[in-house]
Symmetry: C2
């Protein structure tokens, strides 16, 4: 079977760890698999390189093209060293860079998107019995400029390669041993999931779980790549991210996510006429401010309240833009709050079960937690609450939805179904 393995920065953090990754690669070869390995920069290296570019450029934003040129070297060092380590351990390996594999992206420096991959050179290496060690995070645009894929981009490189090469599995090795029901740092009762569906993983990633880059999950879902998340330090099989099946649907809630990077902007008494929301939100989009949850209340006397959240670091910029945008509308009152956070429950089982939302609100109410905003999708419910209640809310919801139970998740589901 053709397997794509991806090792993160902590997994290749020093020479000993690189040697240990090499041994793992050779085990997969010894088991008869063809192997493509994607690696990130050694832990800390990307930040060191970014620091250099900032030192040179000072406070203002440096050219993203040149920053990508500098930062992409981190992965180049890693692939060379891992290929050497595999050779030192008696194996055959060849390193391949973004421009050599022809990982073509769009031209959006620092957060480019992969458009195509040419598998020819990788298949040639595999045909010679070599392990193909491919640099994660990097590509080139159609003019041959170096691009990078943004934080966590090596996950996306791995999944995109698995899709392009038709790999049987994509294994993401990291410093945790799988995907958890929630953040174990907040909730000691958190349990590792054996399996989770693409859609759930996508929601969990979008909602603040840091295990996988969102884009990598989108790729995996689109091309149906079976995706394993496991630890590079242990032997636990980890979590399989895969297509939804019936057993999953019996689970009401699979995971609980939280995100503190939230700030709320409330605009009071906006004239309730068509096009008003667009007038306010368009200048934000043009200024690259990502607006997350948007809530608009029922109209009263021809006016409504419009509330939305943005990333906390964008609050100041967003507030200024909003104030300018609403002035011609006669709006005088814009309230902001940067002490909010978002807590979300995710599960494909919600589709077929009612009462999940009310159970969530009851649970929060029982703890005296006020809900400031609510947003729902087919498989998730998010509540914005005061930041100080985050840990309490996560633990209460974790217990309320039966995730504390020590038995495997499928057994719990069967008990409730």
């Amino acid at each position: 079977m053709l397997i794509v393995q991806k090792y993160g920065g902590t997994s290749v953090g020093d020479v000993d760890r690189i040697r240990s990754v090499a041994r793992r690669c050779l085990e997969a070869r010894a088991a008869g698999h063809d192997l493509v390995v994607v690696v990130s920069a050694m832990a800390g290296e990307t930040n060191r390189l970014l620091g250099l570019t900032r030192q040179v450029f000072g406070a203002s934003a440096p050219s993203e093209r040149e920053q990508d040129v500098v930062v992409a070297t981190g992965e180049q060092v890693s692939v060379g060293l891992l290929a050497l380590a595999i050779q030192a351990a008696g194996g055959k390996a060849v390193s391949l860079l973004g421009h050599q594999v022809k990982i073509v992206t769009d031209g959006t420096f620092s957060r480019a998107r992969i458009k195509s991959i040419d598998g020819g050179r990788i298949f040639a290496a595999l045909g010679r019995g070599e392990i193909a060690v491919v640099a994660g995070f990097q590509g080139t645009d159609e003019h041959g400029n170096v691009t990078t894929l943004g934080r966590g981009g090596s996950d996306t490189t791995a999944v995109a390669l698995a899709a392009a090469l038709g790999a049987g599995a994509c294994e993401i090795y990291t410093d945790v041993d799988g995907v958890y029901t929630t953040d174990p740092a907040i909730c000691p009762a958190a349990r590792k999931l054996d399996r989770v569906s693409y859609e759930e993983m996508l929601e969990l990633s979008s909602l603040g779980a840091k295990v996988l880059q969102i884009r990598s999950v989108e790729f995996a879902m689109k091309y149906r790549v079976p995706l394993w998340v496991r630890s590079s330090f242990g032997r636990d099989p980890g979590t399989l991210v895969c297509e939804e099946d019936e057993a999953m649907e019996d689970v009401l809630v699979s995971g609980i996510a939280h995100d503190r990077n939230e700030a709320k902007i409330a605009i009071r008494r906006v004239p309730d006429v068509p096009g008003v929301a667009a007038k306010i939100l368009t200048p934000l989009a043009e200024a690259d401010v990502v607006v997350d949850m948007i809530v608009q209340n029922v109209s009263q006397d021809g006016h409504t309240d419009l509330t939305f959240t943005v990333g906390r670091s964008d609050l100041e910029k967003a507030t200024a833009i909003v104030k300018e945008a609403v002035e011609p509308l006669g709006v005088r009152k814009v309230d902001t709050d940067d002490e909010v956070a978002k807590v979300s429950i995710v599960g494909v089982g919600m589709r077929n079960h009612s009462g999940v939302a009310s159970k969530m609100f009851q649970t929060l109410a029982a703890e005296g937690i006020n809900v400031l905003m609510i947003s729902t999708s087919e498989i998730k419910i998010s509540c914005v609450i005061h930041e100080k209640y985050v840990e309490l809310a996560v633990r209460a919801l974790h217990a309320a939805f039966g995730l504390d139970a020590p038995a495997p998740v499928l057994a719990v589901a069967a008990g409730r179904g």
Copy 2:
């Protein structure tokens, strides 16, 4: 005028120095020149990266392909940072890597030779008013593998670019302010040369002067690129390496070089029949041992002595090979000596003046220095002597050939001519 400037590792050794290089680049632009800048890795970076590859691979020699992948990142970081620094100082710049400029080399990893350069992308950048910042030391072979050009390879990148682009001048910025009559660390009376011919520079580089990579001088000579060597820290015009002219021919000796990286192998009583030297030297070449001076004595009773020098680190390997090669010839005696060094005098004026060699031997004899081997070319004479006499020999020759004089070299030459 189109100018190619090259800055070495110490010139871009930290962020402040990179900023200072950026200012120099902008001065050249302000003077109306089109500018291509070649940079090396930040001082110490190449050794750090080589250290990583050795740590991974242990004592044996790592794959040179993968070593090149790792080491080439040093220059990639430098070009990104210098382009950013030029932008931060208000200029326009774009970094370009070996694969982007299509610096195509042969496939000899770690010491590749440039075969072709595609100037298109550089001219496009210059046409947009940008300073083209090109990574030195690196290229790709015809299959797109990353290659490096060996120590000092950025000099060669700069001169090759100047030749390919038809530049009006190539300026090599380094941590010394030009080419000296000899090593000032050994001989305080050493003087900076205002001008030196390509051929003299080639001999000086070959004989151990570390100012320029030999290959870069060959390129400059072949394509008649006027080459300036100057300090990146001062304002001295430096030394011009250029075509020979009549004034140069009036100077008997332009410079004195020395090289301690020498070891001597003497094979006694070799049968003096055709093909013997080839039988001994061919296996050395096949083992990548570079043989420098070769001396064969006049035959006596059908036997001769064959003596040659190799790099000191190759002595052990070379001795083993030689012993195996001479055994079938019935030779039993192979002497080695690793305490020798080479002292050379160089000057195009030798062509038209007799007595230079005898003056050299007299000078050494007057100091009690025994000459172990002699080798001459049209414009240089080299003597192998015991290592302990190197400093004495250099100083004595420097004085004897009038190089100590404080006046400029051309005035000295006129006085003697």
